[in-house]
């Protein structure tokens, strides 16, 4: 690992100022960034820890009933405290392993936008709002392809707001070596329709499956998926699974998620 300076500000304003320096980078739980630094795939001159910022910690319910999660809240805290949105708490409880969940944060996961990560599917299916130090971004505009998001340089995710669906479920087919999703499907049913977000499958990162959403909005049952399929043409193919296998899993995991939610 190349050396860097370390700073741990206690307010969002101080963190934003520190991130204004050239080649400074935010540090959430470090569960992705530290392994990346070990491989020398990044070489920041300064890491700005967000763990000391109390306004970015914790879970609460907003005036509109949405569940608000501080950007530096670790997965274990979401698992324990997001009881108002059980499918989200359960998603957090199955990220990685206990030690990863004690450090890794929701802001870090969404900023990283790993194509196989769990929270991007939860945020996209729930129609969450990503709140940063300067603006609010709808999930539909936020995810812009593998490891790519709408965040600007030095912009910090301070909070994530999740509208709570009537019914929801996340089904993850675990890639056993990494514990990430080989394919993960998050289904959320709201009064005005169903949203389906798929992670782990596409070369473009998390995406919504419009056809399944339409079918499930008309008939919220696993049968509604019968006969629907996704093309594997633009899907990830690696030693853990071919593109065709992943495409098949998308439908299977969608059915399971609907069955578990209904």
């Amino acid at each position: 690992m190349y050396n860097f300076e370390f700073a741990k500000p206690s307010s969002v304003a101080d963190a934003v100022a520190a991130l204004g320096e050239e080649d400074a980078q935010a540090l959430g739980g470090g569960q992705t960034l530290i392994p990346t630094l070990k491989q020398r795939l990044a070489s920041p001159t300064k890491l700005v820890s967000l763990k000391g910022i109390s306004e970015m910690q914790g879970v609460c319910t907003g005036d509109d009933g949405a569940l608000c999660i501080g950007g530096a809240t670790c997965h274990a805290t979401v698992a324990a405290e997001a009881g108002a949105y059980p499918a989200l708490a359960s998603t957090a409880a199955h990220i990685g392993d206990p030690a990863v969940r004690n450090r890794g944060t929701i802001g870090g996961s969404l900023a990283n936008n790993d194509p196989s990560a769990c929270y991007p599917a939860a945020a996209l299916a729930s129609g969450a709002t990503i709140v940063t130090n300067s603006r609010e971004i709808a999930a539909d505009d936020y995810f812009q392809g593998m490891f790519t998001t709408a965040l600007d340089e030095g912009e910090i995710i301070t909070e994530v707001r999740f509208p709570v669906p009537e019914k929801a479920n996340y089904q993850k087919f675990v890639q056993p070596a990494s514990r990430f999703a080989l394919v993960g499907v998050y289904v959320a049913k709201f009064a005005d329709g169903v949203r389906v977000a798929i992670t782990g499958a596409s070369n473009d990162g998390v995406f919504r499956w419009a056809e399944a959403e339409a079918a499930l909005s008309a008939n919220f049952s696993a049968d509604a998926i019968d006969g629907l399929s996704l093309s594997g043409d633009d899907m990830i193919s690696d030693l853990h699974g071919t593109d065709a296998y992943r495409a098949h899993l998308c439908a299977v995991m969608t059915k399971r998620a609907v069955a578990a939610a209904a």
């Binding site: 470090g30 530290i34 392994p35 630094l37 030690a99």
Partner: protein
């Protein structure tokens, strides 16, 4: 270089670190607490698990600077005050929960964290909790058995598979 101070196994410890110094390196290289093992470069093996402010973390994936002011517990602090093995360590010995022993410090620290939150775990609770701890020797079975025994449960029924 910066100064960090933390409590390690109940005693104050401090040292000079670089920004990049990992908690595992600080414990092993500066405090000479080499019981915390480093088995991988990818944050996947769990040999390095310690407790920071009461929760299990991978010390290879946390900067020493992040532990400034924290209360850290490592395998060296697990034995009873008289030096005898604690309940979990003794159960690992009694049930052959280790072979080469490389994964054992992390296994014992993960087990301690589990039993603190869940004093009577089911077998599947134990297996699920150990997802981030890799053992290349035992096949896990006797590790699970040891942890079940350490929780005071009857392990006679857990037959070897």
């Amino acid at each position: 270089m910066a100064q960090v101070t933390m409590t390690v196994n109940g005693k104050a410890a401090s040292g000079e670190i670089e920004g990049r110094t990992l908690l595992s390196s600080f414990l092993r290289d500066q405090l000479k607490l080499t019981g915390t093992h480093v088995g991988c470069d990818t944050s996947q093996c769990g040999a390095c698990v310690v407790h920071v402010d009461g929760v299990a973390v991978k010390s290879c994936t946390m900067l020493a600077a992040e532990a400034d002011g924290a209360d850290v517990a490592t395998i060296e602090g697990q034995a009873n005050a008289d030096g005898s093995l604690n309940v979990i360590q003794q159960a690992f010995q009694d049930h052959h929960g280790l072979q080469c022993g490389f994964c054992t410090p992390g296994m014992v620290m993960s087990a301690a964290a589990l039993l603190k939150d869940n004093p009577k775990p089911s077998e599947s609770d134990v297996r699920e909790y150990l997802e981030g701890n890799i053992c290349r020797c035992t096949g896990y079975h006797n590790i699970v058995k040891a942890i079940m025994a350490a929780s005071g449960q009857d392990v006679g029924a857990i037959a070897a598979e």
